[in-house]
């Protein structure tokens, strides 16, 4: 087995937390390439092509062009002043950190997902692939994929659990408008993990001409690394913007975690800044002590699914359990492998927020800031409000506002028992 940083015991201080994955695609013991033989040659080719693209200034230039002019980057850094005041009003004297939002919800298509989709479709074109497939839960990644496929004129098939098709109708229609074919998946619990299974089945059958745009920093190597790299634009920008706004880095950064792509995008550039405390927030659904949550790190254990070893919600027999969250985007029983490693090394602290806590933070954000957040970052916001109240007044907390909540208004209305 590999030597770096595979056998790092929990809590050991490493020289750098940013060197993974190793040649086997591992972050410590997590990650890897657990796929059928049919896919192996393609995954190796993708790895090679990605390495070449990274070294190619023309690729970077093209990517930067679309990020600026099509996605709308850089996304603003915003001081959430009224939210900060609200926290200070409830906090002990001298407490209540300044809260900043990294506003990736202002991206084209309304979330961070597009950062990754632009990167992957440029890779697909480089590899000469003629057809794009993707999985989606809430539909945000599906919409982002359908969007870039429309932009570049490639046919797109999106696999989506039949349950999610039903509860995310506006996004289904968006994808169709953008020219994608949405295939409802009825196997299993008919949610995100089942959509991913069917996308993998499609890929294995159409391996010659098809590129699979995975939406989160998970799956077989090199996906966790390349999705992280494409999302790292969030953290790179945030660092520079914080320095410009405050002349220093934040004391705490926070993000929500489903598969964890927005979080790793924010976290990765900060991993070696030891003074920055990093906190990921998982979805606790009805509560971690119930069987209805999606907190893989808090409530799961290591296993192998969808091409990588990572923390999973699973039974004693190694059967994968259904996740639950009010937010379809966090409703996944696994997590990106780099998060599993960061959890075990202790560099990042992972906590959770329930459906109810997220709903309350959602409403607070609407009322205090005039920003309708997606339910996903509302989980992080719930913990951020609490955390800021414990921090000193001269400290800074940065939260990744990774998506906007227009897609969620029906779910929220339903949860609050209101008619629209």
């Amino acid at each position: 087995m590999s030597s770096t940083p595979a056998d790092t015991p929990s809590g050991e201080i490493l020289n750098s937390y940013r060197t993974g994955p190793d040649a086997q695609g591992r972050f410590g013991k997590f990650g890897g390439r657990f796929v059928a033989e049919t896919l192996m040659p393609l995954i190796l080719e993708l790895e090679k092509e990605y390495e070449a693209a990274k070294a190619d200034p023309a690729f970077r230039e093209e990517l930067d062009y679309y990020l600026e002019h099509y996605v709308g980057r850089p996304s603003p850094l915003y001081f959430a002043e009224r939210l900060t005041e609200m926290v200070r009003a409830d906090a002990p004297k001298g407490k209540g950190a300044k809260i900043y939002f990294k506003r990736d919800e202002l991206n084209h298509t309304g979330a961070h997902k597009i950062n990754n989709c632009i990167g992957q479709i440029l890779l697909a074109r480089r590899m000469g692939k003629k057809r794009i497939i993707a999985e989606t839960g809430a539909g945000q990644h599906g919409v982002a994929t359908a969007t870039v496929c429309a932009r570049f004129g490639l046919p797109c098939v999106v696999y989506m659990g039949a349950t999610d098709v039903e509860r995310q109708k506006p996004n289904v229609f968006r994808m169709k408008l953008l020219g994608a074919e949405v295939k409802p998946v009825t196997s299993g619990a008919a949610t995100l993990k089942d959509a991913m299974n069917d996308a993998l089945r499609d890929w294995v059958t159409n391996v010659e001409d098809t590129f699979y745009i995975i939406g989160t920093a998970a799956g077989p190597h090199p996906y966790p690394a390349l999705v992280r790299d494409f999302q790292s634009v969030i953290g790179i920008e945030a660092k520079a913007q914080m320095k410009a706004a405050e002349g220093r880095l934040p004391d705490v950064i926070m993000a929500c975690i489903g598969g964890g792509s927005n979080a790793i995008g924010l976290f990765h550039p900060f991993l070696d800044d030891r003074d920055v405390e990093i906190i990921g927030v998982e979805a606790a659904g009805h509560g971690i002590d119930t069987d209805k949550h999606a907190a893989s790190l808090t409530g799961g254990r290591a296993g192998v699914l969808h091409g990588n070893r990572t923390y999973l919600l699973q039974s004693e027999d190694g059967q994968i359990l259904d996740a639950h969250s009010i937010s379809a985007g966090l409703d996944y029983p696994g997590i990106g492998p780099e998060h599993s490693w960061l959890h075990e090394t202790g560099r990042v602290k992972y906590v959770s927020a329930t459906d109810d806590e997220a709903l309350e933070a959602f409403q607070t954000c609407c009322a205090q800031e005039g920003i309708i957040p997606a339910l996903e970052p509302s989980h992080a916001l719930a913990r951020a409000i609490e955390k800021a109240g414990q921090m000193d007044k001269d400290q800074i907390l940065l939260l990744n506002m990774c998506g906007r909540g227009d897609k969620d208004i029906f779910t929220v209305a339903d949860a609050l028992g209101r008619d629209i």
Binding site: M1, Q24, G32, R33, F34, V35, A36, E37, T38, L39, M40, P41, L42, S187, G188, K193, D194, N197, L200, R201, V204, T205, V207, E208, G303, V304, L305, H306, G307, R309, L312, Q314, E316, D317, G318, Q319, I320
Partner: protein, 277 residues
Amino acid sequence: MSSSVSRITARFEKLKEANRAAFIPFIMAGDPDYDTSLALMKQLPAAGADLIELGICFTDPMADGPAIQAAGLRALEAGQTLKKTLQMVREFRKDDNETPIILMGYYNPVYSMGVDTFLAEAKEAGVDGLIVVDLPPEEDEELCIPAGKAGMDFIRLATPTTDDERLPSVVKNTSGFVYYVSVAGITGGATGANKAVSSAVSRLKAASGLPVAVGFGVKTPERAAEIARTADAVVVGSALIEALAGALEKDQNSRDNVTSAVTSLAKSLADAAHSAR
């Protein structure tokens, strides 16, 4: 059983002497329930099975088509676990100490049990080989190498995408036989064209020095016979499981119908494979 030659090797040697291809049925352990599945397994050698592939059910069978997905779900709903699957092998071994048993499935249930515990228990139960779909050669240290050390064959899948560059690493740590997936796709789909299959078989035999079994999408006796002319073994899974599902649909309660539907199809496939040369 002799201590030096595995049941799998012994069986292929015997078949070679008779100039016959092997017939390998796949059934899902615990489908539709433990007792029926065990009864069916016990009847397979008499129906012409030379080796048996026994599926380990898993919630997320990414390489399987609808038939085997449904079989896994039926088994899970009936309470099947990896422990019970090993128990089935123990029960089978009480009456049959020669037919090789190969467990086929995905890595997580094995990883969850613990590789060392699993290998010790599988060996003791009488398992001869393992096929784990999501463990390519790049992950050989996980299970393939430990299995070899424990005296169990780790059977590799080779596919149409396995090019000459990869082939040596694909066959390197494998033993028993090589399983050629005749088409890029999932179980129960189309089969590869005849010519392509026979040339792949020769290529794999030359590279591995092992018998080559061909599977994925073999549904009819005619197709089984065609493959048996060049390959050392024919694997049939989805077609047998569809027969099982069909019998269940007709009569939820009769377990005899279920076993006989599978064994009668198995027999016709076995006869075709056995008389192909």
